[in-house]
């Protein structure tokens, strides 16, 4: 989208008066190609297409109509911004779709990163300082001009989800691809799951024996990644499920009840012996009483108590 910004500046300088329609045309064209490209490349399972109400053209018309009714003089500036707005809408929907469809079991990081990148780009575009033609900054008109501030809150909602999922840990730099470590983990995970499936029907102890190596390797890899802080929600979730599966079948039993209890009760027995032997054998500490000298010796504790009795 940086290209778009540069173009916009250039055109604004050269074709001040009559280039507006042309620019919007270019924009739409470029966006349209991008969108279709995204869909084709990265969404093997996109099951919902963008609803009709949000088709770019109708959406724009709808908005322009509404706004131009009220503020006809702002037309020039808003035209460009509305374009951005509609793109934002599309990408928001796409991303939300993707997130929802991969919610359970969690595979959002693996599948939605391109959508997220696109979504983030458009928001950055809107919020960049450079003003479009007509010297109007879309940042002001779209983001901060009303109390609701819908776009920022929509954006921050999705961004928070993305951050708490910690997807960046599983992706390469600039979130262009899945990282090697993640791919490696997914491969290992697959191995284990296949193994589990294979022995599911049979005896559980056999499953425990046969799949132990695969599972242990997976567990080690996971621990290593945990140490490196390269975990994202996908991996955590997958590991959790696997662990549950494993523990359901193969958990270590309490084998040593007797020795542990024996050692503990022996320890508990020690103090009893200790105190008892002290009581019996240690000589009791005595204190030598000293009689204070008082002016009146007969006046002592007994006198005090007499008085009170």
């Amino acid at each position: 989208m940086g290209v778009f910004v540069n173009y916009a500046c250039l055109f604004r300088l050269l074709l001040w008066a009559n280039a507006l329609t042309f620019i919007t045309a270019v924009n739409i064209a470029s966006d349209a190609t991008e969108l279709s490209g995204d869909r084709a490349l990265n969404r093997p399972s996109s099951f919902i297409s963008v609803p009709h109400a949000f088709q770019p053209d109708s959406f724009r018309q709808f908005l322009t109509l509404g706004l131009s009714d009220a503020f006809p003089e702002d037309m020039e500036g808003t035209e460009n911004c509305l374009e951005l707005l509609s793109i934002f809408g599309q990408r928001y929907v796409t991303l939300a779709n993707c997130l929802v469809s991969y919610a359970r079991p969690v595979k959002v990081c693996q599948n939605c990163y391109t959508d997220y990148n696109n979504f983030e780009n458009i928001y950055k575009n809107i919020s960049s300082d450079q003003s479009g033609p007509g010297n109007v900054s879309c940042q002001d008109s779209l983001l901060w001009s009303d109390r609701l501030m819908l776009l920022p809150s929509l954006y921050s909602g999705l961004r928070d989800i993305w951050e708490s999922a910690a997807c960046t840990n599983c992706l390469t730099a600039y979130q262009m691809n899945l990282s090697n470590e993640t791919l490696n983990f997914l491969a290992k995970l697959n191995q284990s799951l296949i193994c589990f499936d294979k022995y599911q029907q049979g005896n559980h102890s056999e499953l425990c024996k046969k799949c132990k190596t695969a599972y242990k390797q997976l567990d080690e890899l996971y621990s290593k990644m945990e140490g490196n802080k390269t975990l994202c929600i996908d991996i955590e979730d997958a590991m959790n499920m696997t662990r549950q599966l494993w523990s359901k079948n193969c958990s270590s039993p309490r084998k040593e009840m007797v020795p542990v209890i024996a050692v503990s009760s022996f320890m508990l027995f020690l103090p009893i012996i200790f105190y008892l032997s002290n009581y019996l054998h240690s000589e009791q500490k005595k204190r030598k009483l000293i009689h204070p000298k008082r002016a009146k010796s007969s006046h002592s504790l007994m006198n005090i108590q007499d008085k009170f009795s």
Partner: protein, 795 residues
């Protein structure tokens, strides 16, 4: 009426004894002999100044009364080893001269140096707190990770009893080191140190309590005992450490290291030192809990009789500096230099904003919790009281004490292990988990044992997780068993010969049952669970339990409010502490008071015991009193001072008027002053013979402070024994006096408010009749059957 009758009969007897030279008088023959030589008529001198009695010791010569009677140790004793601090300033001529010499600028400098000292106290206390914190963290980290690795290794293949033994051995080893250094090098460093500091601030000179050696042993000891996994905290010792730092820094030298920096010489006396010690204690509290105001109030609550505005402000300064230093150093250590986010050793963490509220309906619940805390606290104190008596009577040899401590450590470890082993409470691990050493044991992979978070952790961390972990982290059984075990472990641990505090264990017990309370509440009632946040109840339970055990009021409220950083809870915490104190006091005293009593310290409480107005100074005082003449023979003084049966500290100085038969009071001189005079041989004859002899200054007295040489180390030749000493220049010319009829509460008030050490009782013509000291007052206390008198004992 009885009172009056008694007085009449007494005065009658008085005349009688005067006439017949009194079997009551129990002065040594030697003394009488001296007296005769000095020329006074026998009877009256006998009455006034035969041996005696400042610190109330019976002489062997008395055949009837001094047959030593031996009884087992109990709490109704006063020990002779404790003396008073000389808080009252001796305004002798040397002092006046020095004051005259001192310029206006000099006083300014003194004031500034007081501030500097307070700053230094804060800095050093903070640094010590950091040191303890970091070392404990490291050692405990090593220990727990070793044990954890071992447990993980043996969980599947079997052999967990080996892990148990490993844990036991590690714990015992740490505790053994801690117990050995305490028992062998400095037994006074045992325990939390708060009772000792309380006594010091009360005006009792507890031997060796503020020495450098004590500090070193205390710091190392507390590290060992916390790392050794005992049910103890490091907060109480921090207060003691702060006090020692203050006593050391303010003197500008270390007698132990024989290093004198030649600074702050003016502050080398008990008055100044004690003020600084209160600042040090405050700095200690503030470093321990991140509660500077709480620290100031702690000093105020424990040693408050001698306060003024400027001192309070200075103490506050020391507290703030201390918490800031701790904060700064720890944040540098944790690589968050600018954050300054760890103000205290214990960090309760801040409570979330949503759950800080409490509603009106909860107040009765809080009060109820306070009552429970008071009951449990009283039970704790009672058990600990019996245990302590047993320990004093039977477990008094160092090797036994070390063994006992090791045993407690071993049992703590094995009980904890058994609890963890048998627990079925598994919780899923979370990403932002606060548990540092989650143990899986028999839980499914990815889960941890909830019991292990309470036992397999340093106590501070356990408190924090009880306060802050969300609802559902612990199930009921876990909490119940934990409370029960930890209660007995903590009770058993306090009073061992290791340096360790009781704050954290109490908080932990309270937090556990408080949380239990909070978890049970929505189950059993129809209350909306929104406000029944278990963390909040954990906090209230912790406050109730701690209040029930130590019975502190104002300072504890503020400390808890500051440590949680939450003013909203001020009111409920106050209510809880009040209830806990009221309920607890009904059964037994606070833990610190019990230990002070069991150590037989002559501790003066705020008020004289009720219903003691009928006691007068005449009955309270010690009599007869050893007096010196203003011009006294060296031999006489030497004999008095070296008499091992009497370790009196203050001697009234009398002047013999020519016409009178006995002397009138003209001053008071202290043993320490006499020793310095004898050491420098300030005799009248020598002054005549050697004109160039340097005049004695106040500095000479300060240099000898605080460890005045014993009288045995001073040698006086036979010739010198015949010399005379002029005491008039050195004695305090205006000692406080009271007439014989003054009531006990009045005398008590003078003592408490002025910090007196000696109060001379005089008759209507200003003749010395007796002397009241701290022990004479402290022996009266309210028992179950009214006023009781404590015995004096040698120990």
């Amino acid at each position: 009426m009885a009172n009056i009758a008694k007085k009449v009969s007494w005065s009658g007897k008085n005349d009688e004894t005067r006439g017949e030279r009194t079997p009551l008088l129990n002065g040594s023959e030697e003394v009488r002999y001296n007296r005769q030589l000095s020329g006074g008529p026998i009877f009256h001198i006998g009455r006034l100044s035969t041996v005696d009695l400042e610190e109330d010791i019976a002489t062997e010569e008395d055949p009837v009364r001094s047959r030593p009677k031996e009884i087992p140790h109990n709490e109704k004793l006063l020990s002779l080893k404790y003396e008073s601090l000389d808080y009252d300033n001796s305004e002798n001529q040397l002092f006046l001269e020095e004051e005259r010499r001192m310029s206006h600028m000099g006083f300014r400098c003194l004031e500034i140096s007081r501030w500097v000292i307070c700053g230094l106290i804060g800095v050093f206390t903070g640094l010590i707190a950091c040191f303890i914190d970091i070392v404990v963290e490291k050692l405990a980290g090593v220990k727990y990770s070793v044990v954890k690795k071992n447990i993980e290794m043996f969980t599947e293949v079997g052999g967990l009893s080996i892990s148990l033994l490993l844990w036991v051995v590690l714990n015992s080893a740490f505790v053994m080191v801690g117990a050995i250094i305490v028992t062998c090098f400095e037994p006074i460093a045992a325990g939390s140190g708060i009772p000792q500091i309380k006594c010091y601030l009360n005006g009792v000179k507890v031997p060796r309590v503020v020495r450098l050696k004590t500090l070193v042993v205390k710091v190392c000891g507390v590290i060992c005992s916390v790392a050794g996994g005992l049910a103890v905290g490091k907060e109480g010792p921090m207060i003691h450490s702060g006090a020692v730092v203050a006593a050391g820094v303010s003197q500008g030298r270390s007698t132990s290291l024989k290093k004198d920096f030649k600074i702050f010489e003016y502050f080398r006396r008990d008055t100044e030192k004690r003020d600084f010690v209160s600042a040090g204690a405050a700095a200690g509290v503030s470093a321990a809990f991140g509660a500077p105001v709480g620290g100031v109030l702690f000093s105020l609550e424990e040693g408050a009789s001698f306060w003024n505005q400027m001192l309070t402000w200075r103490i506050f300064f020391a507290s703030m500096i201390s918490t800031f230093t701790l904060n700064l150093v720890l944040s540098v250590y944790h690589n968050k230099t600018t954050e300054l986010s760890s103000p205290g050793l214990i960090n309760f963490g801040t409570f979330d904003l949503e759950c800080v509220q409490y509603s009106l309906y909860e107040i009765p619940l809080f009060i109820c919790m306070g009552a429970i805390g008071g009951l449990l606290g009283a039970l704790f104190n009672l058990l600990n009281y019996w245990l302590t008596i047993f320990r004093i009577r039977y477990v008094h040899r160092p090797c036994l004490q070390v063994m006992e401590a090791m045993m407690v450590a071993a049992v703590t470890a094995s009980v904890s292990f058994a609890m963890i082993y048998l627990s079925n409470d598994c919780k899923p691990l979370k990403m932002d988990n606060s548990e540092e050493y989650p143990l899986q044991l028999f839980c499914a992979d990815g889960e941890y044992n909830a019991m292990a978070t309470t036992f397999f952790n340093t106590p501070e961390r356990s408190v924090r997780s009880l306060f802050h972990n969300p609802r559902g982290t612990y199930n009921l059984l876990t909490l119940g068993f934990f409370t029960l075990t930890y209660f007995f472990l903590a009770c058993w641990t306090y009073g061992l010969m290791v340096s360790a505090g009781v704050f954290i264990p109490s908080l932990l017990i309270g937090a556990a049952w408080g949380r239990l309370f909070g978890v049970l509440l929505p189950n059993k009632t129809f209350i909306k669970p929104i406000w029944a946040d278990p963390g909040k109840y954990a906090l209230m339970g912790a406050a109730a339990q701690l209040g029930g055990i130590v019975r502190m009021t104002l300072s504890l409220t503020v400390i808890l409010v500051e440590a949680t950083g939450n003013v909203t809870y001020g009111f409920p915490i106050m209510l809880v502490l009040m209830t806990a104190k009221i309920v607890g006091d009904y059964f037994i005293e606070g833990l610190y008071d019990i230990h002070i009593k069991l150590q037989s310290v002559p501790f003066l409480h705020w008020e004289a015991p009720a219903t003691s107005h009928w006691l007068t100074a005449r009955e309270v005082m010690s009599s007869p009193v050893t007096c010196f003449n203003q011009l006294e023979k060296v031999g006489t003084i030497m004999d008095f001072l070296s008499n091992t049966a009497t370790n009196h500290n203050g001697f009234p100085v009398i002047v013999q008027a020519s016409g009178e038969q006995s002397g009138k009071l003209c001053g008071l001189i202290l043993r320490s002053q006499l020793i310095v005079l004898l050491k420098h041989k300030v005799f009248v004859e020598r002054a005549h013979s050697r004109l160039h002899q340097r005049k004695l200054q106040l500095k000479d007295f300060r240099d000898a402070y605080p460890r005045f040489p014993p009288i045995q180390s001073i040698h006086v030749s036979q010739d010198e024994r015949e010399c005379m000493m002029d005491l008039s220049e050195f004695m305090n010319p205006t000692p406080y006096t009271v007439p014989q009829e003054t009531s006990l509460p009045r005398v008590f008030k003078l003592f408490r408010a002025l910090g007196l050490r000696h109060l001379v009782v005089v008759d209507d013509v200003n003749k010395v009749v007796g002397l009241v000291t701290r022990k004479d007052l402290a022996r009266y206390h309210m028992g179950k059957h009214g006023l009781e008198e404590l015995h004096l004992a040698q120990m």
